[in-house]
């Protein structure tokens, strides 16, 4: 048999192996290859998903759940029953970077983290309740709305005692950026095989991810290649967040939103979104906010609704809050107006979905807001009032019958 033109290069090695290809023969080779892959997969050691501990997280009762950013498996594979592991108070906490509390004298963003909000809240609750509480932290910076939604689905599937979901005001109403990384389509997308979410599979997941997910699920050697490799070639601990090759080109296609914001709001003038050669977080946040709107019928509005409906249907008690923003935002008219619209929309959702067991907060009490000190428009340090407020919300959930 003559091989097709694309495979013509195979003819010589096959001839050398004194093998004459035939159609059934090639089919058998393909089957044997898959068979061998399965056998090799069985022979290789089983490797668990590597779950990094976010820097600054010190409380051993706060257990990280997310795999590394680019890991296609996305979340850890063990701890499938949180209540069995952490007792009735086992709380799953889903958030992006807004819960990372910065030290008060830190000069820049993303450095010198001191603590995580869930740690502080857990410690307050621990003093009040006799039984120790455990928190399961679904944390990764740059979480977008669809990521949050999918993580909520994952958390609900693990039988949590309670749920805390942080809505990031810069992303909750942003239709230009509903997910952060494509690893969502491998690890997270399997959770969309249900009656409500299956259209997301068709709308978002690229065919190669479908193939990769299928192959990866049945051939672990393909899906855990990175961790297997690390066994032989250990990566340095800090490989996850290296120091800045980005400084050369901070506005890259890896952040398309930056590109659009630069041209829409700043006329392509890079100096207005850069600070000392790096992307100015406040300029970026303000642009993201200005592009936001929780319009009825939009992507983002649909996902927020689904998220709340999902929690409501599960009857897991939950606290959902819109992260507070810096008062400096008030000086940026476009962004401030967008923010008030978002707060109003979340208030409306609160009226629709809120209940004793699903507590939604869009506005924090004035004294809590005044106690916060912001590093940029979102990231903050807390002198204890915010943690106290959230701990109270959580314990009020616990008091219901």
């Amino acid at each position: 048999m003559r091989l097709p033109a694309e495979l013509a290069w195979l003819e010589r090695p096959l001839a050398r192996a004194r093998y004459r290809p035939t159609a059934p023969g090639l089919l058998r080779i393909a089957l044997f290859t898959v068979l061998w892959l399965v056998v090799i997969g069985m022979l290789l050691p089983q490797v668990e998903v590597f779950v990094p501990t976010p820097s600054g997280l010190t409380d051993p009762a706060v257990i990280p759940m997310c795999a590394e950013r680019e890991d296609p498996r996305w979340v850890r594979s063990d701890l499938t029953d949180l209540r069995a592991h952490g007792g009735p108070g086992a709380t799953a906490w889903i958030s992006g970077s807004s819960i990372r509390l910065k030290s008060r004298n830190a000069a820049g963003v993303g450095r010198k983290d001191v603590a995580f909000l869930p740690e502080r809240v857990r410690q307050i609750l621990d003093q009040e309740r006799p039984a120790a509480t455990r928190t399961y932290l679904y944390y990764q910076s740059r979480r977008r709305l669809l990521d949050t939604y999918t993580l909520v689905e994952d958390a609900l599937g693990r039988n949590p005692g309670a749920l805390v979901v942080v809505l990031n005001p810069f992303w909750v109403a942003n239709g230009q950026s509903v997910f952060s990384l494509e690893s969502l389509f491998s690890g997270g997308a399997r959770l969309w095989w249900n009656r409500d979410d299956w259209p997301l599979q068709l709308a978002l997941v690229p065919p190669r991810s479908h193939l990769w997910n299928f192959a990866g699920r049945h051939l672990p050697v393909l899906s855990s290649g990175y961790d297997l490799r690390r066994r032989f070639d250990p990566a340095p601990e800090d490989a996850a967040e290296p120091s800045e090759p980005a400084a050369r080109n901070p506005i890259s296609y890896r952040q398309p939103l930056t590109f659009w914001a630069l041209h829409r709001f700043h006329g392509g003038d890079r100096s207005r979104v850069l600070r000392r050669g790096r992307l100015d977080p406040e300029a970026f946040q303000a642009a993201a906010m200005e592009l936001s709107e929780l319009k009825i019928g939009s992507w983002q509005e649909e996902i927020v609704r689904r998220l709340l409906r999902r929690i409501q249907d599960s009857s897991v008690p939950a606290v959902v809050y819109l992260a507070p923003v810096s008062p400096t935002l008030g000086e940026l008219p476009g962004a401030a107006a967008a923010h008030s619209r978002i707060v109003a929309a979340v208030e409306a959702l609160k009226a629709e979905f809120g209940s004793e067991t699903l507590r939604i907060t869009a506005r924090f009490p004035q004294e809590v807001l005044e106690s916060l000190e912001f590093r940029d428009l979102l990231h903050l340090s807390d002198d204890g009032q915010l943690s106290r407020f959230l701990a109270d919300e959580l314990s009020e959930l616990g008091e219901k019958p």
Partner: protein, 36 residues
Amino acid sequence: MNRYLRELIIGLLLAMIIVLAALALSERVPFVYQGF
């Protein structure tokens, strides 16, 4: 050598190439912090 045995060995070679490629290519692109 038997034709089927040859096919089995070719299959093994292909599987090994795929496994080695999977290991070699599973270096993740490091995440670059961009301020948000």
